[in-house]
Symmetry: C2
Amino acid sequence: MTVDETTTLGRRDRKKQQTRAALAAAALRLVAERGLDQVTVEEISEAVDVSARTFFNYFPTKDDALVGDSEGDRDRVLRALAAVPTEQPALEALHRAFTEVVEDMQGDAELWQLRLRVVTQHPVLLARLVTGNATTERALIEAIAARTRLSADDAYPALVVAVAGAALRAAMIRWAAGGGGRLTALLDESFAAVAAGLPDPRTG
Amino acid sequence: MTVDETTTLGRRDRKKQQTRAALAAAALRLVAERGLDQVTVEEISEAVDVSARTFFNYFPTKDDALVGDSEGDRDRVLRALAAVPTEQPALEALHRAFTEVVEDMQGDAELWQLRLRVVTQHPVLLARLVTGNATTERALIEAIAARTRLSADDAYPALVVAVAGAALRAAMIRWAAGGGGRLTALLDESFAAVAAGLPDPRTG
DNA sequence: ATAAAACTTTGCAGAGAGTGCATCTTTGGC
DNA sequence: GCCAAAGATGCACTCTCTGCAAAGTTTTAT
């Protein structure tokens, strides 16, 4: 309404993506400032100048506006995993698949670091971000089972996926805290430590 | 009201514990039957014959009635960890600490398997059960940092705690699915695999 | 045994999340 | 310019969760 250019330049879908991004950004900014419970959907919507009802047309939940596009992430990880040669050990394959996604995060560093900071401050969200995305985890388990020629009910695929997810999460949190350097480097370190069996730093 | 014995035998706190357990059990049973969103707090409370308002005096959230007493679990794990000699490698120390808690679960097998089944069917809850309990994770990280003489901001403590938690979660889910045998045995397997660096089953 | 103190339960009012439905507006195709 | 499809919106409604005040009950002191 306020800007004619966007309406002229963009077509429908363009504007939709724009609104979506604006809602996510506003949600993130407001929650970072005030905390999760001190921000209502009404306020987020107002900041973007849409109705509260419209917010729910874009995101099923307030939380969903904060954690990002987990469906898109899932697809990307699965495609990346499929691209890794089957001969590669399962753990290494997951490492490579995660690396792709993580490189994208590095590209959007500010957004992602803000998101990760918000998320670590509100554990309810943390769950949904990586581990909590049960659908992704399930899909990864099946992909690993297929490539190791094990049953999806076997212990190994579930374990290696859970542990790899933990390694990813640890790297991301560390990155957001500003501890290390590049996210990919932190991810490499995490996976290297896991592959070595997490030797105690005092002895190993 | 219906039973005089309980009122006579138990004093205030006894009755409170009773109500609390009854609410948790009713919640679990109803959600197992119908699904998380098909059960209201009102119905859970009615099943125990208290008001809905009272439910919220016991649990801050509907979810909390389902996932169990995470505070108690936290204390137990931390105490168990403190009892493990400092010389033990961090991963092994966590293994032993978890073993204690897990033995209690085996004692209450029916309750816990029901709980785990409910929880795996509703990923929102999964998060809160293990990984989601950020406070426990934070406390464990600090405990591990202290015993390894590292900073709590170091990468290692966070990583080993996250991975150990993943191993625990994988074992519990497998146990609830009826896959293996005793939970402690499954936990041992998980930790053994992690300590070995999760070698690909095809090569290792 | 009784009264005061402490605690629990409960009802009520209200904010906020989330959903279904009907309506209105915008946009793209013709 | 006009029509059909899609998006935005308002409205009514359910459910979760909180604060507050009014009972009711148990414990403690006397």
